[in-house]
């Protein structure tokens, strides 16, 4: 019985981690900054490829993953400075620009690195409960997802940068008038978002097939989680992931992956219909 209970928790944790890690970067870039970043998947792919490359050079996995997230973050800062910065007031153009970027990046990777590279293998470690065996690494992913949530909360709610960032997102002109360096804040925020996307790719790299379009497998889940979370991403993303993970896990377990995916997307449609502002609108109202 306890094996069944644990397995339910494990499966929930697995889907939850996938949703949080794929959505965290987008929550900042799309949720807070309002940039519909179609290249989100390519930042994820970047994290994965850098991780695998560094591990093949002999670095330990954890360090490679940290460096990969950092690389994606720095590329994010550059992308913000070169492309996104000019398009804050033109959201549809930024959508097109980032989509174009995504196409260019996937095709360039295909041409330069090739259609597929060899994986590095999931770190050893598994444990058995009842008749089931589980991979320890999946729990590491869950721990990372929780850590990312806590980290985001601390950065944006407890630090001076966070206060200024939130002020800039709410009213850039006023924040600027009060002395916030909004240009730099935008760049750093975008960089954090890209870095978190890179972290997602870095963490999932050992468990997946590595191809240039691998980011696409995360993109639907990430947008869905952020949209269901709603306007206040710091409050909304976690409950959105909990809610969607529970639905998907229950349906996956009983009816298989097809129904799991259909059911989750159906729930998303219902939520957007009933709560156009997302889950966080309810939470914020309650809070006041």
């Amino acid at each position: 019985m306890s094996a069944e209970l644990f397995s339910v928790f494990y499966q929930f944790a697995d889907v939850f981690a996938f949703l949080i890690l794929s959505a965290a970067g987008l929550a900042i870039v799309f949720g807070m900054m309002g940039v519909i970043n179609m290249a989100h998947g390519e930042f994820i792919m970047c994290g994965a490829y850098v991780t695998v490359g560094l591990v093949k050079l002999g670095l330990p996995l954890a360090i490679a993953q940290a460096l990969a997230a950092l690389t994606a973050g720095l590329i994010g800062v550059a992308v913000e400075y070169l492309i996104v910065r000019r398009l804050y007031k033109r959201p549809l153009d930024s959508l097109l620009a980032t989509w174009g970027l995504s196409l260019i990046v996937t095709q360039s990777m295909l041409l330069i690195v090739g259609s597929s590279i060899t994986g590095i293998g999931t770190p050893e470690g598994s444990f058995a409960i009842g008749g089931y065996t589980f991979s320890t690494y999946r729990l590491v992913l869950f721990a990372c997802a929780v850590a990312v949530l806590i980290g985001l909360y601390v950065i944006f709610m407890k630090t001076r940068f966070g206060v200024m960032a939130r002020a800039t997102m709410q009213n850039a002109a006023m924040a600027k008038a009060l002395g916030a360096r909004t240009g730099r804040i935008y760049a750093i925020s975008f960089g954090i978002g890209a870095g978190l996307a890179g972290l997602c790719g870095a963490l999932y790299a050992p468990t997946m097939t590595l191809i240039p379009t691998m980011g696409a497998t995360f993109v639907v889940e990430s947008f869905v989680t952020v949209v269901v979370g709603g306007a206040n991403v710091l409050l909304g993303t976690a409950p959105a992931a909990v809610f969607l993970a529970m639905i998907r896990m229950a349906l996956n377990a009983s009816y298989g992956q097809i129904i799991g995916q259909i059911g989750m997307l159906f729930a998303v449609i219902l939520i957007i219909r009933v709560l156009p502002e997302g889950l966080s609108s309810v939470l914020v109202r309650r809070g006041r």
């Binding site: 397995s7 889907v15 996937t106 090739g114 259609s115 999931t122 191809i211 995916q261």
Partner: protein
């Protein structure tokens, strides 16, 4: 000024050269071969060897004088794994470029997308993949292996070796669904039991729940007919969770070269039946691999699709030369006479007159813990007999249909 002058001379040279070339070639316009293969998108890693195999065959045939003295012009378009683009490009190749033959398509969905378009023309079409079988269509010539060559060999072997309980994970589209149906039929005939079947939407990459469902069902072995890079993540995740079950498949190793793309031992204990895999070491195969590697030194793996794509051009050459014509009806007369055979790197292969599918030398291969491939069993040449047995006879009637164990021709 000087460079401008040079340019003029160069242009003149090119024009004259082209004109001279044009005169020499005017009597024999090239044969146009239309090729639809994905070299970008999710299936690029499989499509690339298909393009390479076609290019290698075209180069070799052109060097040795072409087909009936005519050079081959290969027109490749990349549908990027998008079935709508497959249809658009097929129309373009057929009606604008007026190709003499159309080759290609990776997924069965893409094949079924272009087949009705080809059926409205008189252009022959070669499908070069192994697939779920059953297409009885006079316009189509199938070069890959089919279930009676792959499943009727593999599944009895797996049952005998590992046990009667199987769990199936399959991609959720026509290939996966029909292959699963084949498995059900063969398992029933063997007195085995399908303890679970899970169909996975394309693009899904997370399998923790599936792995647990498998452990709950306690099968003796797995049939893995999952498709695409995302779904292949199953192997890494199953290995990390220590699932440790024997696996069988009709598309792994020789087609998707998962043993080259994943770190050992993720593909340990995988078994497949194949007409080609790069590890074949007969003299003919070695010679073929040497020529391939000379042209494409960076190829990660020469897969069976690429190999079949290479054979398709030689088969086309044989058909055209025997028929002394490029017309579909004339090519089909050669097939109907049972004369459509080539000496392929795997050995002699022939097109079956009734179904227009290809006979193959089938071998059962196993993957070891270091991802080494060993041949377990050699079945010799197996003919594609199933369609003929159920009543498809293209020499008499063009059904233009795809049959499955549960969708058989009407007995009239």
């Amino acid at each position: 000024m000087k460079s401008g002058h040079l340019l003029k001379v160069a242009v003149l040279g090119v024009v004259l050269g082209t004109a001279a070339f044009g005169v020499a070639q005017a009597a024999e316009p090239p044969l146009k071969v239309g090729l639809l293969e994905d070299v970008s998108g999710d299936l690029a890693f499989m499509g690339m060897p298909k393009l390479h195999g076609s290019q290698l065959a075209v180069e070799e045939i052109n060097k040795s004088g072409g087909i009936l003295g005519r050079q081959i012009e290969l027109i490749h378009l990349d549908p990027q794994g998008d079935n709508a683009r497959y249809q658009e490009f097929a129309r373009r190749l057929l009606s604008r470029d007026k190709v003499d033959v159309l080759i290609g398509g990776i997924t069965s969905a893409s094949r079924e997308a272009v087949r009705p378009i080809i059926d409205r023309t008189t252009t022959p079409y070669f499908y070069t993949n192994q697939y779920e079988g059953g297409v009885c269509d006079a316009s189509m010539i199938s070069m890959g292996a089919v279930p009676e060559q792959q499943f009727s060999t593999l599944i009895p072997w797996m049952v005998e070796k590992f046990g009667k309980k199987v769990y199936v994970i399959a991609a959720d589209y026509n290939f996966g669904q029909i292959s699963a149906e084949w498995n059900r039929k063969i398992m029933k005939d063997l007195g085995g039991e399908v303890v679970g079947e899970e169909f996975i939407p394309l693009g899904v990459s997370q399998f923790a729940q599936t792995i647990q469902n498998i452990q709950k069902a306690k099968p003796d072995w797995l049939l893995t007919i999952n498709v695409g890079a995302a779904q292949d993540s199953f192997f890494e995740q199953a290995a990390a969770a220590k699932l440790n079950l024997p696996m069988g498949s009709s598309i792994k190793i020789m087609l998707g070269f998962e043993h080259k793309r994943f770190k050992p031992p993720a593909l340990n204990n995988m078994h497949a039946t194949a007409n080609w895999f790069e590890e074949i070491d007969t003299p003919e195969a070695k010679d073929f691999k040497k020529r391939w590697r000379a042209k494409f030194p960076d190829e990660l793996y020469i897969n069976d699709m690429g190999y079949n794509a290479y054979n398709a051009l030689y088969m086309y050459k044989t058909l055209v030369e025997k028929a002394k014509s490029t017309k579909l009806e004339d090519l089909r007369k050669v097939i109907a006479a049972g004369d459509a055979c080539i000496d392929a790197p795997e050995g002699k292969v022939c097109i079956d007159p009734k179904s227009q599918h290809t006979s193959h030398r089938m071998r059962l291969i196993s993957v070891g813990p270091q991802h080494e491939v060993t041949v377990e069993k050699d079945y010799g040449t197996i003919k594609p007999y199933w369609l003929g047995d159920i009543g498809c006879d293209l020499t008499k009637k063009n059904d233009k249909d795809q049959y499955t164990p549960s969708h058989l021709p009407n007995k009239s």
